[in-house]
Subunit: 183 residues, 6 copies
């Protein structure tokens, strides 16, 4: 009797800080899931929050990812979010990633440092087509939220709703003050 | 005009070390998903591995959870696994959990310490019916793997397959040696 | 028989880095102790020292606080200083504070980030009247010490005496050099 | 004109974990304050709590110390409690202590390791007369609380009252269970 | 013109805690340097000291290694000692080692855990002939020092001299007391 | 019978980040070894790498030091390199150094902060003659590598060869991009 071979799914990795989640992230995730059977969405610098460049907690960022991907019609069976804290030494970063994420075949990234770190470990890295990077970047969305200029059109509607629940305007303005430490 | 109210899903939390994933975990997760719309499965002590009581990495543990839950027919849209490292002070443990897991309504747990820590924060905790705890515990599965007595029937078939891929017998025997530190 | 009720004292918290202790701190503490029976003076970022914005150790800062408050005539039975190290994640900061400071009723603070963090935990925060903030700030005192312009009148006489014992001029000038790391 | 010399107060250090505060601690502190003008009471292993040998937070331990010393009639102007976290390397322990505690002249301790660490730095250490150590030790008080045998007479009345507020019986029994980690 | 090829030296790694350095270590190092051109002697758990199983600092351990190897006539041009602190996760241990030790070709080790960790990275591991392991082990030397039975013949004369300078008898007896923490 | 006295060698310490190793470092080491019998070359901030100001790992830095010193004809019996990670508090830095480096008599340094930290511990510090600091500094070598202007003549030939093996141009350009974090 011939047994059917167990097909090994093709697994990808996409890493971001998602401060906050915007349409550029959504486009990159959509691009990635077209190329793999399953995608791990790594929420990096997971320990950071309430800082000027990192206002949102991992909890808030995973909420935005989940609601936006669900809202986009992406199958929940195709992805999972995994938070990852920074390592004290960048030389440990890929090993740390490998120790928390199940086996993967390819990393989707345009980041030159991530690329350089992965390459030393022989990991395959695939670049992601840019999606109007000037407009759709975390820094730009944060800047606009802080300034009070239009930002809602840059993020999926589910992310916008959550950002308002998080009190994003007040939080970002608080952190742009000079007194960024609790005392 | 009357808008349809957005239904807020009921979200649960189930915490375990999953060293390794066994049928007791599967039963607890099945019990939990019957009571909530969505479940976060927290992989605690995520930084531990290659230690006597914690042989498997978070990567390996999430692999076992994912393959076993997929194999059990549980909808991928109902759950997500989240790794969580220990905090230096247990007084920070619930705050750390809150900072990485999206909003949840109830914790499924029988662990008296977790209960005691959650209660101080006013979190609702629901106990899980025991599932032959003497047989189905991580410690018992690890002991049997190390001894070479029957263990495969204690874990879902997908977990058993992965454990063999991980070289679980050799790993657990190595760690039960006296030389538990790398030198 | 009617027992006299045990009066629960009203306890406050005032947080600062005290780099160094100046008359603005003294005024804030005086304001606070008028509103509570007992005040915990939290010395934050306690692990920092010998850095440009944080030149003094917790030891030196507690010395300044103690000598200046004793010199000001404030009752020692009204306050205690507690050093607190930074947390790796700001989401853990209030929990960390709660785990080292005895129960308190109110926090005295004007800092928007501290306010925002406390508010999420339902802690009552009371603002402190400003005391010529431009002149009486740690940054201004440090700048003047480094430049060699008049600074002694900005700090209580006991703090000035200690700062000279600590070799504050030399230390601050050393740290304003480019070589802020030990090598 | 002859200025009166500023008398330098004699300062002592007494270190303990205070898990929980008992009459042995009170006797040691009373002994110490007879020999110095001011005493720093260092609450060591401040980051530990909810562990079998370290059930109480620094917050709870400082509460017990403060209420018991106030109740004993000891002048608040004679002492201050300072929490101190463990250092990753014991070779850094004395340096860490020096960096948070103001200048001191003598350490009161019977602990051979503390003695050995201090001696290398030339710190003067004075031993404390033992106060029925078998009965008055943290381990004995914790054991009795857990067993349900008489323990209240071993601690000052203020500490007993607080311990009951903290739910000490339940907490200690929870921690003596096998499930000492949150999962 | 033909250039002489630059010969690439063969480099080895030998890892130990050296608590303390004994003749078993010396024999292993002599074995290793016969097989390579250069040897890195890694002093692991470098952050540990003044603990029962790890009484000596990295400073003291490197002193013993250096004096004993110099005394043994081994060429200083053949080796270098490198201290290495433990990693929070063992999954990061090989990556951490690689980030501090220059390129090496082979690891000399009999330790099953080190072997298992290295094997996953494809590192060549060569076992070292045992040298009366029952007698020549750090644990046995420490036990004998503490008991006051003969130990000097188990370590090179230079290590014995240093151990006496370090006050090894007193230190080990102090640490075998029950009060292993500074308070 | 009169025994010959055991001559105690004079030991020095020279601390640097060596990002990368250049002729200024070589000149300083040569100066130092003329004044002592043995020199410990401390590679500070050993945990840093792949950052803009700290591109190279400790592994790479020790390789450069070793090859350049061997190439310069300096006796291997005269020195050893020791990597040292940063301490969370600078007040612990000298204690940490003492806990990993064997006894030393003098520190060679021109760094005002290192000087200030050592002085408090009574360590003798000797300044090193400057060697065209504007040209021969890590920052200048890194800047030139990134810009593509002449840099090879600033570093020993062995360091230049290794830097090219490390892909220094690409690495430094990658790190000078805005995306200095892995995501």
């Amino acid at each position: 009797m011939i047994l059917p071979s167990r097909k090994v799914p093709r697994v990808g990795l996409l890493i971001g800080r998602f401060q906050p989640f915007h349409y550029g992230h959504l486009a990159a995730i959509r691009f990635a899931v077209e190329h793999v059977d399953y995608l791990y969405v790594v929420v990096s610098s997971a320990q950071k929050n309430n800082e000027f460049d990192d206002p949102f907690t991992a909890s808030e960022r995973i909420s935005m990812i989940k609601d936006a991907l669900d809202g986009s019609g992406l199958e929940p069976s195709k992805w999972m979010a995994i938070p990852m804290v920074d390592t004290p030494s960048l030389a440990l970063w890929v090993a740390a990633l490998n120790s928390i994420i199940p086996r993967f075949d390819v990393v989707f990234s345009n980041d030159p440092l991530a690329l350089s770190l992965f390459r030393r470990y022989g990991v395959r890295v695939k670049s992601v087509p840019y999606f109007n990077r000037k407009l759709f970047s975390g820094a730009n969305v944060r800047r606009r939220i802080g300034e009070g200029t239009a930002w809602e059109s840059l993020v999926p509607v589910e992310a916008a709703r959550l950002l308002k629940e998080f009190g994003c305007v007040r939080r970002i303005r608080t952190l742009s003050d000079k007194f960024v430490r609790p005392s």
